[in-house]
Structures are given as structure tokens and as C-alpha cells.
């Protein structure tokens, strides 16, 4: 098993990157840039069962489980949400289910972006985070049965 950086270390890196910005505009420009750069999710993953629907924007999320690590891929029709997703993937992806389940994700508050999680009806972000943790939990439970893949509509991994 290859070593990956602990989740809190990656969170700290992001907090330091954001410390460079004084203005809200700059923070959002950076997030938009991340959103634009996020690897595009292939259309064949953009299925209804992979949708995490918010009131205003749509998020698609898929998860893979390899060598006891969860790898997430996601996309959204709104670019700021996409940038926030990109950060969540950077922090959570490639970690064990336990690490993901226990992640506190304090960095979102430290960079002033936690309000996007609170607006549960407005965007899919809070629902997506919940779904990421649900995937991790589902992988953890199914570990013994050696299930290799989730995230392609398997109902066990659906949290809501």
C-alpha cells in the first residue's frame, strides 16, 4: 500500500493557499479556476443514479474502491460547485474508508466556504459530501466480501 498524505495535511495546504488571498473575489476566482481544471467526468457516468441533486445545480459523483482506498470522480453543471468539489476530491480521494468517514473537513470553515455546505437546498455540495461519506461507509461494510466497485448505481451505496 502506497503512503498518501493524511487528510489534515492536505486541508492545511489548502488553508495556506487561501491565506494568499485578501479579497473574496480572488478566492472565488481561484475556485472557479479549479472548477475549470477539474477532470471532466465521462458522459457515460452522468446517469440519474449518480446524480446528487441540489435545488439549483446538479452534481454527479462516482466512487471506486481499490487497495483499500476510495477514489472519487465528480462533476457539476455549475463551476463554483465544481471548484469546491475539486477541493473535496483533493482532500478525500485516495484515502481509506475510515479516514474518509472520520474526516472533519475544518478547512472549509477556515477558508470561509462552509456557507456553501449550509445551504443544503441551494446546491448539491452538502449532499455530495454526505454521499462521499456514505460510499466510504458502504465500502467499509463490504470490505470482507471483497467487493471491488461501487458508484455505478449500486443501491447499497446510496445514502438518500
Amino acid at each position: 500500500m502506497s503512503e498518501t498524505k493524511p487528510i489534515t495535511d492536505i486541508e492545511q495546504e489548502i488553508v495556506e493557499e487561501f491565506a494568499l488571498f485578501d479579497e473574496w473575489d480572488d478566492k472565488y476566482e481561484y475556485i472557479i479556476d479549479l472548477g475549470k481544471k477539474l477532470q471532466v467526468l465521462d458522459n457515460h457516468y452522468k446517469l440519474d443514479e449518480n446524480k446528487v441533486k441540489g435545488c439549483q445545480s446538479t452534481v454527479w459523483l462516482v466512487a471506486d474502491y481499490r487497495d483499500d482506498k476510495v477514489v472519487f470522480k465528480a462533476d457539476s453543471d455549475a463551476v463554483i460547485v465544481k471548484g469546491l468539489i475539486s477541493m473535496l476530491i483533493r482532500v478525500l480521494s485516495d484515502h481509506t474508508p475510515d479516514q474518509i468517514i472520520n474526516a472533519k473537513l475544518g478547512f472549509l470553515e477556515q477558508i470561509g466556504m462552509h456557507s456553501h455546505l449550509a445551504q443544503t437546498r441551494s446546491n448539491g455540495l452538502a449532499a455530495m459530501l454526505k454521499q462521499m461519506k456514505n460510499y466510504a461507509l458502504a465500502f467499509k461494510i463490504s470490505k470482507s466480501s471483497n467487493a471491488a466497485k461501487y458508484g455505478y448505481g449500486s443501491p447499497e451505496a446510496k445514502g438518500n
Binding site: 473574496w24 472565488y28 439549483q56 445545480s57 453543471d77 455549475a78 463554483i80 460547485v81
Partner: protein, 414 residues
């Protein structure tokens, strides 16, 4: 120079702004530009004071108590009913039922009138531009009664397709429930024509007045509508209170909506006599404080002058429409010639949510999304719009701030 004597008659937007303390707020370090008035409006100081005065001076339950404060509170509460009656020119206070808002008003009619008068094979006619609150109660009623819900479509300009209306309405139609002014498009609907046609076929008409009550002069007797629901919070009053107007002859013959105290005269286990109108529809202790303060909002609007407010808002709408259309790739959704000061738009390759977030960074509060009118968004095949809606205290300078914010946002989002 403006003479001092004319100050009262001139519309001075800066003097009006002084009455709204919240407009002093900074959002992310920038002056608040509040363009979400179609969702809820801000409150003038007189309304805020009325709430404080009630709670600090004469808080008491109404209609039953004999002590001084109960009398004062009852008098103030009933004064709002008088003011609301005059505001929409209802015939009598019997026709003014206090609700918690438009949604409750529509539900009251769907349950109280609908469940008594709509049966299997009957039809209920609504339109494609209704707010969800004027869809769901009728959908449920029709499902329960085996009636059919018919829907008048809208045109590309965001107006009702009146030819389709003529074809859809028939002697089977029991009620037409239609929004007077669309919240997502701003369109003012030809309700006079709808009411006349419906009455000629024996149907009653309910108007959702959530948006129209603040922008238009409302005379329910001249309109001859059967029900008209409006709320306080979109008309500079507190949240949690509204009015359902209903013709007395109809209200008298409706099922009661909620049972409880206040709405009864005599209660025995085998026989209940209900209270008179309008009290038989007002079960339980009402929202006393907000209802009392509601009067101050209505007086504020009347004293400022609805016609003056309207011409100011028309100016804002024209200015905003002109400026917005200069933004490259921007398309206005809802282009009726008869509109109130609501402008909904989409921008090429820009998600409304992204635009809303970036405008908030500039202190500009707009609404993004489907505005609780998903069928309208489906019709235009868009996920949602950005909506700016203007009130008496908004200025053209604020519109400039928004348009500059949009231009900047578009630059970084594309």
C-alpha cells in the same frame, strides 16, 4: 428648487431609503444592494417599531380577555382587518380572513371550497406559470376527488396563451386559480378577461395576489374575483401573516379549514356551532404581533402612494432591462409588455448559481434557481434564471452595481 411644501408629494427615493434600517448593512464589506424583493421585501422602521411596541406595551391574547391590554391588542388587530379591507376594497371585514400567508390562503380555498364543490369529472384550471403553492393544493384536490387538473400553457414571451385558455375552460370547470402577476416572469395576467369568461360558465376564480398586491392597485369588487390571497411580507410587512379575501356568500358555504378555539360559538360533543365570518376560518391564537404590524406596512405603502411607487419601479425596470440587454449573451426570460418590476434572465455559458454567488460577493442579493416555478423553467428548457426584483427603495445606481457585477462575473466564469 423643490419647494418645501411639495416634499410630501414628490417621490424621494433617498428619503424612503432612510426608513429602512437594513439598507445600511454591508455585505462582505460592500453596501447591500437588495434585489430579492419578489421573495420578500425589507421592512420600514414603523413596522419594526410596531412589533416592539406591541411586545413591550400591550402583549395580550385577543377577542376573549376583558382586561385593558386584551382590549388594546384586539382593537389593534381588528384595525389591520379594516385597513386590509380598504387596501383591496373588499365590501366588508367579514370577507377578510387572516392567514399565515398566500400559501395558506390557497390551501384554505382548495380545502374549504374545493372539497365541497369539486367532484369526480369536474375540472380545475390553473396555468403553467403558477408558483408551486398554486399547483400542489389543486393537484391534491383533483387526485382526491377524481377531478382533472387542466393547465393553460404560456407563450415564448411568458404570457398566458389566451386562445388555449378559451379552449380549456368549459362548463366542467369549477374553479380557475391563477397568479395575478408571475413571480418568475413578472407578467401581469389579463385576469379581468379570465374572470369574465369563468363567470359566464359558472366557475369561480381565485387570484394568487402574492406579487400583484405590492405593485398594482387592487379592487376586488371591480375585478369581481371570488377569492384573492395576498401576504404581508412581500408588501413591506412582517412574515407569517396574510389575507384571504373571499366573497361572503362563498365563505359562508365553505367547509371549515382548521378546527379549534376562536372559530366556534358553542361546543358540545354532539353539536358544534361555528363562529361568524371571518372568525370561523381563524382557529387558535393568531399571529397577533405581525398582524398588528402589517397595518403599518399597508399604511406606509398607501401614504407613500402606490402610483408613485409604481412609476418609480417602472423606471427601474426600464433602466435595468436596457442595461442588462447590453451584457453579451444575456437573454431576458419573460418579455411581456405588461410586467411589474421583476426581471429574470440567463447568460450564455453561465450557470445562474455561479452568477448569484459572485453577485453576493459584490453585496448584490438576487434570487437564482427555479423560483418555485419548475414548470416555467421546463417550458423554457433552462435549469433556472437569475432574477432581480425591485422595490420602492431601489435606485438606478444599484442597478449599475449589479450590471457591473454581472460583466465581471461573466468574464471570469467563461
Amino acid at each position: 428648487m423643490i419647494e418645501t411644501s411639495s416634499v410630501q408629494t414628490e417621490f424621494d427615493v433617498y428619503a424612503i431609503r432612510q426608513q429602512f434600517p437594513i439598507l445600511q448593512r454591508l455585505i462582505k464589506g460592500k453596501p447591500l444592494v437588495y434585489f430579492d424583493n419578489a421573495a420578500t421585501s425589507q421592512k420600514p422602521q414603523v413596522v419594526i417599531d410596531a412589533l416592539v411596541e406591541y411586545y413591550s406595551g400591550y402583549n395580550a391574547n385577543i377577542h376573549r380577555g376583558l382586561h385593558s391590554m386584551a382590549e388594546e391588542a384586539t382593537a389593534a388587530y381588528e384595525e389591520t382587518r379594516q385597513t386590509a379591507r380598504a387596501f383591496i376594497n373588499a365590501n366588508s371585514i367579514e370577507e377578510i380572513v387572516f392567514t399565515k400567508g398566500v400559501t395558506e390562503g390557497i390551501n384554505l380555498v382548495a380545502n374549504g371550497w374545493g372539497r365541497k364543490n369539486v367532484g369526480a369529472g369536474d375540472e380545475v384550471l390553473i396555468t403553467e406559470m403558477e408558483h408551486h403553492s398554486n399547483i400542489v393544493p389543486w393537484y391534491e384536490l383533483c387526485k382526491e376527488k377524481g377531478a382533472t387538473l387542466k393547465v393553460v400553457p404560456i407563450t415564448p414571451a411568458g404570457e398566458l396563451d389566451m386562445d388555449a385558455f378559451e379552449n380549456l375552460i368549459s362548463e366542467k370547470t369549477r374553479i380557475v386559480s391563477v397568479v395575478h402577476v408571475s413571480n418568475s416572469l413578472g407578467t401581469v395576467n389579463p385576469v379581468e378577461t379570465i374572470i369574465e369568461k369563468a363567470h359566464s360558465l359558472g366557475a369561480v376564480v381565485m387570484l394568487d395576489g402574492a406579487q400583484s398586491s405590492v405593485h398594482l392597485d387592487i379592487d376586488v369588487q371591480a375585478l369581481d374575483c371570488d377569492f384573492y390571497a395576498f401576504g404581508s411580507h412581500k408588501i413591506y410587512g412582517p412574515t407569517g401573516v396574510g389575507v384571504l379575501y373571499g366573497k361572503a356568500t362563498l365563505l359562508q358555504n365553505m367547509y371549515v379549514y382548521q378546527g379549534g378555539g376562536e372559530m366556534i360559538k358553542d361546543v358540545r360533543f354532539n353539536d358544534i356551532t361555528y363562529n361568524d365570518l371571518p372568525y370561523k376560518f381563524e382557529a387558535g391564537t393568531p399571529n397577533i404581533a405581525d398582524t398588528i404590524a402589517f397595518k403599518f406596512a399597508l399604511d406606509f405603502v398607501t401614504e407613500t402612494g402606490k402610483d408613485k411607487i409604481r412609476s418609480h419601479e417602472e423606471e427601474l425596470l426600464a433602466y435595468a432591462t436596457d442595461k442588462l440587454l447590453q451584457v453579451e449573451g444575456l437573454r431576458i426570460i419573460g418579455t411581456s409588455e405588461k410586467k411589474v418590476s421583476v426581471v429574470s434572465f440567463i447568460v450564455d455559458k453561465v450557470h445562474p448559481q455561479d452568477l448569484g454567488i459572485l453577485l453576493d460577493n459584490k453585496g448584490v442579493a438576487v434570487r437564482t434557481g427555479h423560483h418555485c416555478t419548475q414548470p416555467v423553467m421546463d417550458k423554457f428548457n433552462i435549469p433556472g434564471t437569475t432574477r432581480a426584483s425591485f422595490a420602492m427603495y431601489n435606485t438606478t445606481q444599484e442597478i449599475d452595481v449589479m450590471v457591473n457585477g454581472i460583466n465581471k462575473a461573466v468574464q471570469i466564469l467563461r
